[in-house]
Symmetry: D2
Subunit: 337 residues, 4 copies
């Protein structure tokens, strides 16, 4: 850690701070310059963090040298993590397509949609029972009834099921009904929920928050892994920017950046990432090309009747076309569907 002192700081100020660093058993460095005095503290940065030197009025800036996450970092764990979700797997050379409706609306709606995505080649089924909606006047999901429908349809069709959990107190129930639990963008920093998922025994799909940096996302994953659950799949789903032509700005830069930095698999959700049906297929192909380990696609048996996110849901035929068009790209990156 590098500690820049404010102009005007005295030698004795510096000595006092150096003494604190030394007292922790770390190696300190003293670098007086013409315009600033700079101190160094070498060793475990989380230990140094406990000194809270950034709070000191004599300190201008503290510059960490290492990333603040550790367990999710590729530096510690150089090989790709492969996460198993029911009979499917994601990471390494396996490319996973998760598809299904935004919200579970009825048994028939879920069954028809799931049948369609399975026959087109999807590897896992998604469907939301608890729907976080911006307006209290929008459809809020079927709740526990929806969970039961998901379990039933997924078993019938032999598809792994992924569904969102929105509260720590629901984790136990959702674990009973799904093969992987999804944390939505609005809950990425619901740390109580993350901690609970750290002990849930099932894989977690963690979506990036709308205002979350990649570092924030990796730290949220670190919460889950540090509580004992290594099976975390990250998901880029677009961030909020000034651009309004699309619902979100899909940050595909994040994919190669995460693949360099972390060993965790990463999905792309081009449905939320664009918010527009006609852009989904192109961005799913781009996701494959830049190294994503899978995509998550919203499909509805009839999007015109969808109770949520119909604008970004594909018709079953569009999804089948997308699956066909993805194959050469998956092959070109050396993966298998």
């Amino acid at each position: 850690m590098i500690i820049v002192l404010k102009p005007g700081t005295t030698q004795s100020d510096a000595d006092e701070i150096i003494a604190k660093i030394d007292a922790l058993g770390l190696k300190s460095l003293y670098m007086p310059g013409t315009e600033r005095t700079v101190l160094g503290a070498l060793g475990d940065e989380r230990l140094i963090g406990q000194l809270h030197l950034e709070n000191d009025p004599r300190v201008e800036e503290v510059k960490p040298i290492l990333a603040p996450y550790k367990l999710v970092s590729r530096e510690l764990h150089p090989h790709d993590t492969v996460v198993t979700i029911g009979k499917a797997s994601v990471g390494g050379d396996r490319f996973l397509v998760v598809a299904g409706p935004c919200a579970i609306e009825s048994r028939a709606q879920l069954h028809d949609t799931a049948t369609a995505v399975k026959s087109a080649g999807a590897g896992a089924l998604r469907g939301g029972a608890f729907k976080p909606r911006t307006s209290p006047y929008s459809f809020q999901g079927l709740g526990y009834e929806g969970l039961a429908l998901l379990r039933e349809v997924a078993r019938e069709l032999d598809l792994p099921a992924i569904t969102e959990v929105v509260e720590a107190r629901d984790v136990a129930a959702v674990v009973e009904h799904a093969d992987a639990l999804q944390v939505g963008a609005r809950n990425m920093q619901n740390f109580q929920l993350l901690k609970e998922l750290g002990g849930c025994g099932k894989p977690v799909v963690l979506k990036r928050g709308m205002a979350a940096t990649i570092e924030d996302l990796l730290l949220a994953a670190e919460y889950i892994v540090s509580e004992g659950n290594p099976d975390v799949v990250l998901c880029e789903r677009g961030i909020r920017t000034f651009e309004t032509a699309t619902r979100n700005t899909l940050d595909l830069n994040a994919i190669p950046f995460i693949k360099h930095t972390s060993h965790l698999p990463v999905l792309v959700d081009p449905s939320h990432g664009t918010g527009r049906r006609e852009l989904v297929a192109a961005m799913a192909r781009a996701a494959v090309a830049c190294g994503a380990d899978g995509v998550m696609i919203e499909v509805h048996r009839n999007p015109a009747e969808a109770l949520s996110d119909g604008q970004q849901s594909l018709f079953p035929q569009q999804f089948a076309d997308l699956m066909r068009s993805l194959r050469p790209f998956v092959t070109a990156v050396g993966k298998t569907l």
Copy 2:
């Protein structure tokens, strides 16, 4: 609601959509143009929303006429809401200064800080027991022990107490210990929590999320009010932008905008809004000047030792100076401290 049809849509497509509008008992309008056909649907927009016309592949765009919130809107409720928090009140012509430490660290730390802010003139005490932190390796708060300390110190000093609640399952306990419950920026769209607070019987201070538009904030407040709790105080605390010189970008535009649009009182938190101790006082004064109903300020008996957010916490003397400097501005806007 205005419905713009895609080019190439036929008369019978338009008729079919018009029939759906009419079937809801709404008034429809048909406006054929040279480049687009435009339809109108007049009446309750939430009813029209159920048609999900934006999902229809023949529809290019749906443009709502009315704001999606209702109960929090000034149009429905033209007079300022005044919210009572213990013996303090906020809204109308009352300006409230809430101050205290970011996190409760010990009885002595809370007591010393609370004594200092009270003697400087603060109207309510803040202090966090549950701390949402970006990194799992940061101090996570004292939890229930912290709540008990807050209650004890607030009673001793006769100050209303405001503290954050981070989970729906904690609401009942927090209600016992505080005069108002705060929802943090990361939980602004934790809708389960908002619904629970709708029935909690105590005022709620709702902070704007880092990626939340003003409309999102008002819809989050609508969740609480529509569940039966009219005592909501909004709080602007900065949004996330490309600017990195400050921790967040304090969006003071939001203050006069909200005062025009909603009857709810609104606070400003210049501590999080800037993230830098030396900018807090200037932005607190700006908050008064643009019409805020109060400010929320982080103060620590010794910020250099703070376990969280020390960089943005004021020293007690700085807070006393700030209080003095605020008075002429509060007077100039016609309010009383």
Copy 3:
């Protein structure tokens, strides 16, 4: 155009505004509702724009129906525009790779780099003579001397040359030395420059500004086309967001959006779009996959010595590897290099 009147507006206010619409020879519509009166004006929206109804204190909001650009829109001109740059072409089924150094530093540096990119298969050479730099203390380019070097090397190697022009008064000189003129992100709304380029007789590569929406970009292109130059190539190069892990956020959503909306070809610049050498190849592949008509890549004979943007410049060997890896993706989208 839809005109929403403020609550409390009278019938005679509405009549007065309707009279203005009728006076322009447009068709007006009157839609009184329970909460708002809405007016419509059907016909040429640019004509209606002259009324500046948004300025009227009785008007709450004006909602246009049509996009504000026309000549660049696919609606008016459904077929892809193919732009010829020297012996290269871009658009339709031709994929163009433009490569070369960020800045021209010397004859040898340019020649070595150009030779390398040509032998790896680049279709055009880029190189900057005038460098807009954030700091006055950074290398500002070789200016006219750089232009002459570019012309000389491009002729020798028989490669079309693309270079940036930063001022209207330089356009004539740059036209003499290059096959296409580039407008950089910082000049996307330098309208004097755009107008000058409308009459320059050579193709223009127009980069998206850091804070420009896609609509802003298309309107900037409309400036050039409406002045008489139809040969505009758009270029997505990343926008500024809160994410700091990468230099910019490459907005690939813009590619399929622009291909739906406009007939102009569009390039992607993953060098500026990421700012990090190790991410360039993945994002170039993603650009192909989502439908871009080409990519623009910074290459330097020795990036470690580059005077500008060395961090994002590829080594010649990396560029050769990238070219090889692009081919299957270009084939998969049905284009030819």
Copy 4:
């Protein structure tokens, strides 16, 4: 400057880089750690910048210690700069209100508006002759004719005149007609223009770009000052964020930040900063309260007829009310109007 080497870098790599630092006559430091080797280079950072160490593939990150601007920094020049614009002055304890129409539309429009703002107490007149407009179909200003009208009306009313210059080749002409030259947000990084203004002999009002950080703004000012013109007035006018309720997000945090960091005076433009007439007065008051040296306000004799930006222009009576309401705030900050 702190140089963090990538993991796996050898001692001889470090030695080679250290030799380059030493060769420049700077003091180098070698700090081997368990996870990273860190180097330091003490001395003039602009000199070190010439090494372009960030380009070196062995370097993970370069962290500068000092701000990249120098002449505009308060560290070098601790006292407030006061800039004289005709008979007005700005900076120190003088608060300046600049007012007038967005665009000069006719002699009568300018004269009526200027008369109104003068009688209400404005200290300088603004009015645009060259209007950068997003769409080529919007009013582009009266050009040189507008300049002549400005000069004429300003002389008649004895008001200092400020107007925008959009091109380097126009600087000489604009200098003849105005007391200060304004650089608009879209030209903040038009470096040719900035360099030209460095030698123009008149004060420059430099507006912050929509995607410009405060550091970018200070570096743009550094261009002008380093070319010999010390009379630069900065202007915050809002940045582009995801918020769409207002035209821009006025970043008032920038005001106290700039006052700490730089000696230059800084204005606030709440007209562009909000884009909505009804929010202008509140934000002008906030600007005073947080330490701005002045405000720039758009006023039109009849905003309903304005050819540009009418939505954000005040009616003359509103401006007179604003002037009255500003006075107690100006007094409270210890300045004089």
